[in-house]
């Protein structure tokens, strides 16, 4: 089943180049719809709230035994929700490109589908290297999409995107490998703690080379010293923080977003950025909870910088797409802030934020793409007051902007509020740690939340500024004919679009709007679905908080570690 989620888009991608040019889009759409149907069946068709939900879906096959690799796919509610998001954005990205992409369509849809497969794989992988393979492989399709179908500065943007994230993740790979080495060489399988762990879950492989996610997490979180964890976490952070992106490693994002084609931006905002947060959540924190705790104050500081700084930067943009791109930096700041609060509200909020941001910002990019398709500009100086020309579009735009602002009743609010609440509650998390830069003493929760809260105001400032310029105000349009003659024959081939949205475009936006509303009013199913995953993360951190990890090879440290194990088990 899980394999099918990856294979369906891949196979479709293989079929797409063979399809006749006219029906390439339809074929791709069909493939993504099938994948969506499967994902919907898996997501809705079962109860994900149990701790072992989804275990029966796991796939495991021997792969490269010499390297300790296993082709292992698995899922839980948390992963599944992100898979569902990916699957949902799949057909939307395909459908939104029917008129936008008219050249080299086969390549386009092929890579789009490959990208979907890779992203799905990231969320399903339960082997670190498999995760890394998918994680890295997302770069290639995105690189192609940006550099072939983007706008003027696309090549530089694509290269920057690729190199920046590649560099980060190579260092993350070093961290992953270190963890694996640690498990193989620093963990003694005969150790009582290790034995107890294996007894509790027989799948664990301790004391041998493996990249199995659960095993490495058990080994590293239990046996690795806090200081080592700090380093390993730093390595992983290099990879994931770039992807998120956290300030100050965010500068590839505005560029990539601005230059990417619409579907690329949607995927980028909707899913690709979530790979970073997902990596932090599922991999990094689980692997080195103590390291994560040590890093939390610094990361919190960076998040605040992102929320406030990137927000203010949004406010002075004239390029709509860039504005929304920078807003992603600010929004993801909330998401990571909640995550590093390490409490239920924060982590729940963070996970919801991943999904909600995917929906609302993805939709905003769609809206902007529709404008770009019509006017071939994104500058707020050239377009404005489009509500008069395109009322339906304007309605959607206002709706999604409000979702993005975090208006209660829409999806953004629930997650944003929970993230803030989490940060507020997490008084001791933001406190200084011996290994931390930038932390101070005292309960900083309220202050952190208050500063982050100004992000709500700033979000209102820049998003309404955008609405005020683009949607409202007196109508401003660039002269159509000029553009068409200037850009030569390429555009003549394009089907002329009506002033307001077509039925197809409405069909693309409507599901997102419905979901935004539903998740805002009735987030309960989703919250229940991701809850076990959230609890797992919190348990890991709680475990590290209550227990001092053995600093030396555990042969001597049994006595101390055994009760710690008991508490850990109790926490589960």
């Amino acid at each position: 089943m899980l394999l099918a989620l990856i294979l369906i888009p891949l196979l479709t991608a293989a079929v797409v180049p063979l399809a006749p040019k006219r029906s390439v889009g339809q074929v791709a759409l069909l493939g993504t719809l099938v994948a969506l149907a499967l994902a919907a069946y898996l997501t809705l068709g079962r109860d994900w709230s149990g701790p072992d939900a989804g275990r029966d879906l796991a796939v495991s096959a021997p792969w490269m035994p010499e390297l300790g690799l296993v082709f292992k796919l698995g899922t839980d509610g948390l992963s599944m929700s992100l898979v569902a998001l990916t699957a949902l954005l799949g057909p939307i990205c395909v459908a939104c490109s029917f008129t936008a992409v008219t050249q080299r369509v086969r390549t386009y849809y092929g890579w789009l589908l490959v990208l979907q497969a890779a992203m799905t794989g990231v969320f399903l992988a339960r082997d670190m290297i498999l995760f890394y393979v998918f994680f890295e492989f997302t770069l290639v399709p995105m690189f192609v999409l940006i550099s072939l179908y983007g706008s003027t500065n696309r090549k530089a943007a694509a290269v920057k995107f690729f190199l920046y994230t590649f560099t980060g993740s190579v260092i993350a790979l070093a961290g992953i490998v270190y963890a694996a080495w640690f498990n193989a060489n620093r963990v003694d399988a005969a150790d009582p703690v290790a034995k107890a762990l294996v007894a509790a879950s027989p799948d664990l492989v301790l004391g041998r080379w493996t990249f199995d996610l659960a095993s490495l997490q058990a080994a590293a979180s239990r046996f690795m010293s806090a200081e080592t964890q700090w380093w390993v976490f730093l390595a992983l952070l290099c990879g994931f923080a770039v992807k998120v992106p956290l300030v100050p490693v965010h500068t590839w994002l505005p560029l990539a977003h601005t230059e990417a084609p619409t579907a690329g931006s949607v995927v980028l905002a909707g899913v690709l950025l979530k790979l970073g947060t997902y990596g932090l959540l599922k991999i990094a924190i689980g692997l080195c909870p103590a390291g994560a705790m040590a890093w939390a104050p610094t990361i919190g500081l960076l998040c605040l910088l992102g929320i406030v700084g990137a927000g203010l930067i949004c406010w002075v943009q004239t390029d709509v797409k860039k504005l929304v791109a920078y807003s992603s930096v600010a929004h993801l700041g909330f998401c990571v802030l909640g995550l590093f609060a390490f409490n239920d509200a924060g982590v729940q909020g963070s996970v919801l934020y991943m999904i909600n941001h995917g929906l609302s910002t993805g939709a905003l990019f769609l809206c902007i793409g529709m404008i770009y398709e019509r006017y071939h500009t994104r500058s707020m100086r050239e377009i404005g007051g489009l509500a008069a020309r395109m009322p339906i579009w304007a309605t959607f735009m206002v709706f999604f902007t409000m979702a993005s602002v975090g208006l209660p009743g829409l999806n953004g609010f629930v997650s944003e509020f929970l993230c803030l609440l989490g940060a507020f509650q997490a008084g001791d998390v933001w406190r200084s740690h011996p290994l931390t830069v930038g932390g101070t003493g005292g309960n900083l929760g309220p202050y952190v939340a208050a500063i982050a809260g100004t992000g709500m105001i700033i979000a209102a400032m820049y998003l309404l500024y955008m609405l005020g310029h683009v949607v409202f105000g007196p109508l401003r349009e660039p002269h159509h004919d000029e553009h068409h003659s200037a850009s030569g024959g390429a555009h003549d081939a394009e089907p002329r679009l009506p002033a307001d949205l077509t039925a197809r475009e409405i069909g693309v936006l409507a599901p997102l709007a419905v979901l935004c509303l539903v998740l805002g009013v009735y987030p309960k199913p989703l919250m229940r679905m991701v809850d076990p995953g959230v609890k797992e993360v919190i348990a890991a951190v709680e475990g590290a908080r209550t227990q001092r990890p053995a600093t030396r090879p555990v042969a001597e440290g049994d006595a101390g570690a055994a009760p710690a194990l008991a508490t850990q088990e109790a926490a589960r």
Binding site: G68, V144, W181
Partner: protein
Amino acid sequence: MIEKIGALWPEIILFAAACIVMVVGLSPTAAVRRLCAPLAGAALIVAGIVAWFTTPAAHGPLPMLPLFGKTLVAGVGVLLALLLAGTPDREYESAIARGATGYDPIRANRAEFWAFFLFSLTGAMLCAGADDLIWLFLALELTSLPTYIMVAVSTGRNRSMEAAVKYFFLGALGAAVFLYGFTLLYGGTGTTRLFAPAGEPSIASILAAQAAGPGINAVAMTGLVLSFLGVCFKIAAVPMHFYTPDVYQGASSAVAGFLAFVPKAAGFFTILILAGAAGWWGSSPVDAGGSLPQPLHQIVLIVAILTMSVGNALAVVQSSAKRMLAYSSIAHSGYMLVGVVAGPGPANAPYTSNGVAAVLFYLLSYGVMNLGAFAVLASLERRRADGSADEADDVNDLKGLCATRPLLGWTLVLSVVGLLGLPPLLGFWAKLPLFTSAISSNEIGLVIVLGLNSAVAAYYYLRLASVALLESPELTNDTVRSSPFPARAVAGLASAVGIVLLAAWPLNQWAMQGGRYQRVEPLKAAEGTPPARVDAGAPAAR
């Protein structure tokens, strides 16, 4: 003595084939002349099979290295034979075909070229199986001397001459350096035997004894260092890298592809053998097998870092695809040296901790991926007004290749993306063991440098890939055409298939076998007697 010959069957076969080819290639009948390449290929296949079945485990620290090395050389050699198809005498043969001139054996190079090709591969194989300094020296020279000629005759243009003269003279300088190193090594230990059965004196066991005792003797250590630096010429490592881009660019693409693999393989076999003799003994803080003896370890480390950094930095600024690949070849040597630094880990270390296995697998992967890239270059040419052809060289020659020649284009994309090390292609699976083994030996800094260098490399590889994949083809009269040698494209295709599939095939099992390491026991000498004295008493085992 006779059992050593038993271990040399593959080399003997290649040698015999070389002799046959030398005769066949002189035949006045074109069809017979053309048998050279098929004969060479067949000989390589046979030699590979024979190597697989007959090569015995050697004494010494890396018992399976000969087996691995020989089969690897034979395997990649087959592909190289495909790649080199049509290289010698191209213009001469076409002149004969046009009837412009008759056949004159004096003016033909084909026979020598293919014979030298086989000789060079023989040398590489011999390197893998060497257990004596003299043998090693001869094998290295056998590997490289033919290549000088191959470069010189590869295109018949001035550039090839220039490449050959640089290659030859600098090669001689390099050879002198490692020869002097070998000399000192002999001086410091009193024997040229690298490995010997347990209890018998050999460089490995004597050095082990020295390391266990007062520390490795300075002369021997100087010898090791100089040998290493000399062999750096073969693997194109800093500081012996200067020739690489000029030679690769001057030689035809096919020969450049050959140069990027065969001498490099021979060089790495040599380095591994020397390192094995020196022993990964050092007091490494980790519970791996330990590191190389101290100054050598640091020197290899420095060379590794310099090599990858310099190679990548220079590759970034190139506009000639061949030069770019040449510099990247330097960088890849640097990556592989990481595995040498990491060492094989403790006895029976898993693949993940075995740097030697990592080097071997990387060598294999590099051979395959690099071959693809050069095969594509060799398959493309620009016709000049006079009908002669220049091989594609500039990056822009590759514009839109995926659109105009999908097969070649995708081969190129796969090769360079593979070389870049992007999962899930072969390059990643080659780099991963380097990561794991280096971390196993606690070389975390080196791993970070390796990672950052991969990122730098990504820049120019991406450029190559995107030129081929994303740019639209140039539509001018001076178009790039395919060269008339489908065998080259076949070689490229084979490599592309390898890049995708080899990772799944249990080749790393093979590399792991090849990298198996057993620690050399120190020579048990009478207390207080210097090892050399003992050796001096024993007659040379030869």
